[in-house]
Symmetry: C2
Subunit: 308 residues, 2 copies
């Protein structure tokens, strides 16, 4: 049995996965704020799988944790998990002694990529494109994450696709994230509300000019990210997930229209059939927690090898 956690900015999703790869238990907890509270949430989530989901926690052999921050390669050290109030935290050191099994830590987008790949049948190649406050992708081929040389694999959000586009918080102009990131859209919209991107879609349908521009930029940015991923890494599929995809079919219709426009203009782009290669991760999918479980299990296997 392996456990996987997706530690999100508001909720932590935990799953227990059996030897056949099936999810046999799942719980959700509110994520605590700051270093100690995040550590406590991880420990509580594993315990809750036993108490609330009937999982035999004594049979757990590894724990994997996906978390929205940078992970120092080969370590359990998380840095700049700003949405969790964590500047720096060694999650392996903080949790493994209590959990008593090997713990693996990975960036949440990369974990979700691995989980989405497994849920999708686990063959070929896939990019998982996370549309949240920011935009980043994880690339998986034949079950392995493309980790890259220096930790920026899949950072397509900061590719500029319009020199006259909106200023990105990174300092460049026209980044994919400046066009399509939830944070950028909320800032450009400038009106308070729990779901600014939904407000933008609604206002665009009522003819609001700014909302129409923002909605167009969102589709333009997402379509650009899809093209970048297919033309660079040539993945079979691009799966969209993250908070902005709560818009569901309204978002997908816009993205498909944008991809159709470039296919219309270009026989080469048409030959890529991008519209058939993009799909939405279903709402509530356990992809990130499942991927974290796979990462934890791999860390466990490494440990078993290292220790004979």
């Amino acid at each position: 049995m392996k456990v996987g956690l997706d530690v999100g900015g508001t909720k932590t999703d935990a799953v227990a996965v059996d030897a056949a790869g099936e999810i046999v238990g799942r719980v959700r907890l509110t994520t605590g704020w700051g270093t100690d509270a995040v550590t406590a949430t991880v420990l509580a989530a594993v315990g809750a799988l036993g108490t609330d989901a009937g999982v035999d926690v004594a049979a757990v052999r590894s724990v994997g944790i996906g978390i929205p921050g940078q992970i120092e390669p080969g370590s359990g050290r998380v840095v700049h998990a700003v949405n969790l109030g964590v500047d720096e935290l060694d999650l392996v050191a903080a949790t493994q002694p209590t959990l008593g099994v090997p713990v693996g830590v990975e960036n949440d987008v990369k974990a979700a990529a691995l989980g989405a790949f497994a849920l999708h049948g686990g063959s070929g190649s896939m990019a998982y494109l996370n549309l949240g406050t920011g935009i980043a992708a994880g690339i998986v081929s034949e079950g392995s994450l493309w980790r890259g040389a220096r930790g920026t694999a899949g950072e397509v959000g900061h590719i500029s696709v319009d020199p006259n586009g909106p200023l990105c918080r990174c300092g460049q102009r026209g980044c994919i994230e400046a066009l399509a990131g939830g944070g950028s859209i909320a800032e450009r919209w400038g009106r308070p509300g729990p779901l600014p991107v939904r407000d933008v879609f609604d206002a665009a349908e009522h003819g609001d000019e700014l909302a129409r521009v923002l909605r167009g930029d969102l589709a333009r940015g997402v379509a650009a990210a899809v093209r970048v991923l297919v033309l660079t890494a040539d993945v079979d599929e691009v799966v969209l997930g993250g908070g902005v995809t709560a818009l569901g079919d309204r978002l997908m219709a816009d993205v498909r229209a944008e991809l159709a426009a470039s296919a219309e203009a270009s026989p080469f782009m048409r030959s890529l059939r991008l519209d058939e290669r993009v799909e939405l991760l279903p709402t509530g999918s356990p992809a990130a927690a499942l991927g974290a479980a796979l990462i934890g299990a791999a860390r466990g296997a490494e440990g078993a090898l290292a220790h004979g």
Copy 2:
């Protein structure tokens, strides 16, 4: 001993490589035009390694061929090698019976990527960005080519980075290839000459306005391709080669200035140190022929396995 050929639009470069990976013989021939002449060039080049470079051709165990066209995956079939006058040619079927050893065929940019990686020490990851009439890249990690799902891995030339940019021959606007491809620059320049891109650089230095725009677009397109490769595949290094790199340091100075401008604007881009991660393939490098030799040898090893 393994032989590798780089069949170019005007010249064919052939190398013989010993078991230690050293190039022990090299010849260059003029490439013939059309299906039969290309086949004859391949056979003549292998023979010339014996007669002109003193290679013991009886000791050759495999031949690899890099060629500017699409290669049907897993076959020796070349299609759309327009610069060679070849619409379709099965190079394995056409040459293997005469050569008497396993023959492997690969797209020339992918072969050059593998060769540049080997010449560079053969560890980590690298993208080879070919700046010729068109623009495409090959991505290598730990000695393996990233082949992708459907044959478009590394096709960064058709990523649009400016919705108001020049029209690309693919039909889109502002593609990297429309900004920086030698073919596009020659067409936009519109004046005859053997090396239009050099004429553009010279004229830009004399203040010609169109030439300054074209020269700026070239650097802008190359820098965009470098950013795409690092932000998507996160390769350690991007090596530039192909006909346009004959401009050498004049081109590199422009590209570095362009990368420096985005580093100036963006702390994130600055952290990538892109200027230190870009370099030129030396003029006359045998990278493509060497990479072809490695591909041919791999095909030979597969054959040995398949036939016991």
